[in-house]
């Protein structure tokens, strides 16, 4: 009884608030009452300070809302963080995630028709769309592939634009070895193997998205024999090549991430399989050396599908709670996100390089005045403008799959504990019976 009264009171005050905001006033920034909008964590820890600076700048820019980031635990998954908050009736208003979007779909707002949704593309919105409901808004675009240390590559006389096939890549690896350098730092980090490296197979398994999703369908139905799949065989050959030329000992624990960045920055390695999110850390560690990104060839055919493209995707989507928040909180959440991506002030926080206090994001909304400033961002922008991008099929992976595959079979194959046939079977088993969220099935 008491609860419903409180709820009614909240609704009443929300109605009152929205009435106030409708009332015509000369300055839009007058509010009856300041509303605190909570966000679970930040976008990611690497750029946490920059994000918090953006939030405090937003809080100063208007007097209606206060954006407050409530700390999450980055060692546990998004779902692990958010379920206790929902159970305690203390759900954050803004949430940011990729993997558990299907799980959250019925609890968050439909963002279709918001200003931001209109400013971006259907492609970028797609992984945040569940059954026609726009569950999330994209934050940025990220890419992964072969990162390289420009100084080392130049000294070895390698032209990265000429690397189109697996054989080309092996030749480049050999040139590096001839220079006394190590060819590649290939990390056994479970999420790198489980999400990004497996994506290299899934994204080249079909020439259009429907064909790629059909591969997922047949894996779920248990009808796929990976050992007979041409794309899978090619993927395995690339996997073996990287393993063969890997210059670093296998490290299966999380300390590997920092170690890999230090390795590429040190100038002892030519390449690394990672994503552009490491660029700020690389530049800090190497004190300014430029790093670039190229495709990872998946076949020996220079015209083979995907060999001239890199996987570009949205690493996470903003979601806004629709179950435990007030109308004012939801309005505030939308107001903040709109400010972040459309106001000149917010855009600088989004796109400025990390060294200048920004988050170094590649803009995914129209109307950005700020150009990407770093070398790797420019490389990615080039791929995007030329339409040479591959899907992040890993956005469709069911919750827990990248852990199961990445922490077990992929790391086992990496350390020669299982054969390629075992790996194929393990991946098939991991997919069998999972929910086809890409076909609208409930997670």
């Amino acid at each position: 009884m008491k609860k419903t009264q409180l709820g009614a009171l909240l609704i009443a005050s929300a109605v009152a608030l929205s009435l106030v905001s409708v009332a015509p006033t000369a300055t839009a920034a007058t509010c009856a009452k300041k509303t605190t909008v909570t966000m679970l964590g930040t976008i990611k820890t690497e750029i946490q300070d920059q994000f918090l600076a953006a939030a405090s700048s937003y809080n100063k820019s208007q007097s209606c809302y206060t954006l407050k980031s409530i700390p999450g635990d980055r060692n546990i998954t998004f779902l692990q963080n958010v379920t206790p908050k929902y159970a305690a009736k203390d759900a954050p208003t803004i949430m940011y995630d990729l993997q558990f979007i299907p799980e959250m779909a019925d609890k968050v707002m439909d963002l279709k028709g918001t200003k931001l949704a209109k400013l971006t593309t259907k492609e970028l919105l797609s992984a945040g769309n569940v059954n026609g409901k726009q569950v999330g808004l994209p934050s940025t675009a990220e890419a992964f592939g072969l990162l390289y240390n420009k100084k080392v590559i130049k000294a070895a006389g390698i032209d990265v634009t000429k690397i189109k096939t697996r054989a080309d890549l092996e030749a480049a690896f050999k040139k590096l070895q001839a220079q006394g350098k190590k060819s590649i730092h290939f990390s056994a980090i479970w999420w790198s193997l489980g999400a990004h490296f497996t994506n290299m197979f899934h994204t080249t398994a079909g020439k259009d998205r429907e064909a790629r999703l059909k591969v997922l369908d047949s894996l779920v139905d248990g009808k796929m024999d990976l050992s007979k799949n041409a794309a899978f065989k090619n993927w395995l050959a690339t996997y073996d090549l990287l393993k063969k030329y890997n210059g670093s000992p296998a490290n299966l624990t999380d300390t590997e991430y920092d170690a890999s960045i230090a390795a590429l920055a040190s100038g002892n390695y030519g390449f690394m399989f990672q994503g552009n999110w490491t660029e700020p850390n690389l530049m800090t560690a190497a004190k300014g050396t430029d790093f670039g990104i190229i495709n990872l060839p998946m076949s020996n055919d220079a015209k083979g599908y995907g060999n001239d493209s890199i996987p570009v995707g949205v690493p996470g989507y903003f979601m806004i709670d629709n179950e435990q928040s007030t109308k004012a909180e939801r309005d505030g959440a939308i107001d903040f996100l709109t400010w972040l991506y459309t106001s000149p002030q917010g855009q600088r926080f989004v796109a400025d390089p990390v060294t200048e206090g920004g988050m170094g994001f590649i803009p995914v909304y129209k109307g950005f005045k700020t150009e990407p400033a770093t070398s790797m961002s420019r490389d990615i922008a080039k791929y995007v403008n030329a339409g040479k991008t591959l899907d992040w099929i890993n956005s469709y992976y069911p919750g827990g799959l990248q852990e199961e595959v990445g922490k077990v079979s992929m790391q086992q194959y990496f350390t020669d504990k299982i054969s390629s046939a075992d790996l194929a079977k393990a991946i098939q088993d991991a997919w069998k019976g999972k929910a086809k969220t890409w076909r609208g099935e409930a997670a």
Binding site: Y86, T253, T255, G399
Partner: protein
């Protein structure tokens, strides 16, 4: 009348702790038990599903391998922690001049939180030992112990022993100093060797301390979580996941809240039975004076 008064007296002292116990332990436990019979997804309950969560848990091969691994971990850690702790207790109750200093030294690891401890030892196993091994050519340590299932198991054991021996040592010290000196003096006069004194007099007279220490290490072994998460993260290949971590991963990592919860209930029954058996057996050896 008398009963009402004693109840009043009881409530005066126990009402608050009892209320807290109910709110933070009994209620969540009953609630969790209820969830095992539903399709709970972490957010809401739609319908009752009977025993299907339990059936699914038992059908999960991962659950069995984890249980076996946990069982092995409990047995080995139980033995080693208690042997080491008892040895330490003997050292610090001897006539050594540095015994007070040693007492503090042995207890200190217990004051470091499990997660911090795990991270420190992860660095030791992953980087420090490997670097030394490469320099001095120690074949056994050249590859990080955390990369290999069997060695990672021993790494877990080493850290657990290092962490909890100090605490169990205190329990054994209490047992050792509670033995009346007249009995010890009598045995000395009778010409018993120190070893004979230990096995024939000290150990039987302090059997109670063994009951407590064994119970604590048994429970600690089954419940181990923080060191597991921070040291091995369940790796390599998720082969060193202890039961608590497995339950956590099942529920929160993969979103299987129903089976995760029912595995936790099964776990509770296993631990309760194991502890009951252990305490019953140990009690038999206690000497009543």
């Amino acid at each position: 009348m008398r009963k009402a008064r004693s109840l009043k007296k009881f409530m005066k002292f126990a009402a608050l702790p009892l209320a807290i116990f109910t709110v933070v332990l009994v209620v969540p436990f009953v609630n969790g038990f209820y969830y095992t019979f539903t399709d709970w997804d972490g957010f809401k309950v739609d319908k009752f599903v009977g025993f299907s969560n339990y059936a699914e848990s038992f059908a999960d091969p991962k659950f069995w391998t984890t249980l076996r691994f946990t069982g092995l971990f409990v047995i080995v850690s139980l033995i080693l922690v208690n042997v080491v702790a008892f040895g330490l207790a003997l050292i610090v109750t001897s006539n050594l001049r540095s015994r007070n200093f040693l007492r503090t030294l042995f207890f200190v690891p217990n004051l470091v939180g499990g997660v911090v401890l795990g991270v420190i030892w992860q660095f030791i196993f992953n980087s420090a030992i490997v670097a030394l091994a490469n320099k001095y050519d120690w074949e056994l340590f050249k590859q990080s112990w955390l990369q290999d299932t069997n060695k990672a198991f021993w790494a877990l054991i080493i850290v657990t022993v290092w962490q909890s021996s100090g605490y169990m040592m205190i329990v054994y010290i209490t047992g050792l100093v509670s033995i009346e000196t007249d009995v010890l003096e009598a045995s000395q006069i009778d010409g018993a060797s120190p070893l004979r004194t230990l096995f024939a007099i000290k150990i039987p007279l302090m059997a109670q301390a063994f009951t407590i220490a064994l119970f604590l290490t048994l429970r600690g072994g089954f419940m181990a979580y923080d060191v597991n998460v921070a040291l091995t993260e369940g790796g390599p290949f998720r082969t060193t996941e202890l039961i608590s971590l497995h339950i956590f991963q099942d529920a929160f990592g993969e979103g299987n809240f129903g089976t995760g919860q029912s595995k936790a209930v099964i776990m509770f029954i296993v631990v309760a039975l194991a502890a009951l058996v252990q305490v019953t057996i140990s009690k038999r050896y206690e000497v009543q004076r």
